[in-house]
Symmetry: C2
Subunit: 221 residues, 2 copies
């Protein structure tokens, strides 16, 4: 899920795998994360696991009251609202910076990522060699491409962790979707607005898109 291709310490591997398991729902919200259990589950010693959990707690995927161990971070409407507000802020800033840099590579990257997303949807619909994980990967790549050229390491890092944190809620939203067309149409519209040359319109389209998970999972108010 989180993008770091090859990290060769066990602790780094553990971070990735635990994020994946939390985001994919295999580790449920508020689930106790006992080192002894994790040792068996991930086949490694206690040290790298503690290190991983410690880092995950500063990233917000895990909670850690002192002497009370680690738990998967809980889910709530308030939390999704907080994630969404932060995502709107981060992606707006990153998008504006990408646009005003008039970096040719940006457009290329966004279009390429969109094409990949389109193709993945197609393969998923025709049932040939693409699963939900592929779709999620392509979706993340698309959103990452939008902010990729903002020039700020911190914005990129924030986007990455916020995207993953939102993924838990996005899964709930996707449950009600057999309508892949609608999913793709939303992103097509977003792409059009991004490439349209009007910064304000692009930002609006993006923030609207981000609100979609929120209003879709918690329709009230």
């Amino acid at each position: 899920m989180a993008d770091t291709p090859t990290e060769d310490t066990l602790a780094n591997v553990a971070v990735q795998r635990i994020i994946d398991d939390i985001v994919s729902g295999q580790l449920e919200p508020c689930a106790k994360l006992r080192i002894e259990s994790l040792k068996e589950q991930y086949g490694m010693g206690a040290s790298p696991l503690r290190e991983a959990l410690s880092r995950l707690s500063t990233l917000g995927f895990v909670t850690n009251e002192s002497h009370r161990g680690f738990r998967v971070a809980p889910m709530s409407q308030a939390d999704l609202e907080d994630i969404t507000l932060n995502r709107r802020m981060v992606e707006r800033e990153a998008l504006l910076r990408s646009l005003t840099r008039d970096d040719d590579e940006w457009e290329v990257g966004v279009v390429a990522a969109y094409t990949r997303l389109e193709r993945t949807v197609e393969r998923l619909r025709t049932g040939q060699g693409a699963d939900g994980a592929d779709l999620e990967r392509a979706h993340k790549q698309f959103h990452t491409a939008i902010v990729a050229h903002c020039g700020s390491p911190r914005l990129l890092g924030l986007h990455d962790t916020l995207y993953d944190q939102a993924q838990r809620y996005r899964r709930l939203m996707m449950r009600g979707i057999q309508d892949l067309d609608e999913f793709l149409a939303h992103h097509t519209a977003l792409l059009k607005a991004l490439l349209g040359g009007d910064a304000d319109a692009a930002v609006h389209a993006l923030t609207d898109h981000l609100n979609l998970t929120l209003t879709s999972v918690y329709p009230n108010d």
Copy 2:
């Protein structure tokens, strides 16, 4: 009652102390952080130190290439620019949210923090029982009060770490300041703008204030 109430874990204490030592400059940029040395320096074992360094690396105070150990994060103009851009974004968002919540407590808190800052400057000038650390604390409390009531846990966390990361550069700026009056005057103006009721003006004053460290440490361009 217990003699020494250890509410916290050693690892948490280590995080705080190392941040302090990095921010205060006692641990210089790019300095190697060898566990063996730190064990002696902080009087604790390797486990809590590794955990602390690991967390600090995700917070951005420390770098950590795999199998190459930990180092104090380097300083650069690009880094300060990144910090500043992120601070403008975060504090702008937090300020706007605090304002639109029309929370009485917000004004009270901001004014109280300003008063504390004012008094600390006064005591510092008359040389009675206040040192640089006190001023630093009061300054941080003032800026924290501005964003305190935004209602977003993530914004608060971001503000906190970004503030601390900026502190290393602020120290350089302060070197050239014997003029406490100017320092205080800047904050007085900021306070006025914040309380003036004009959101746009308040945001502008705040972002200008944040730019001050940047332009002061790196005057070129």
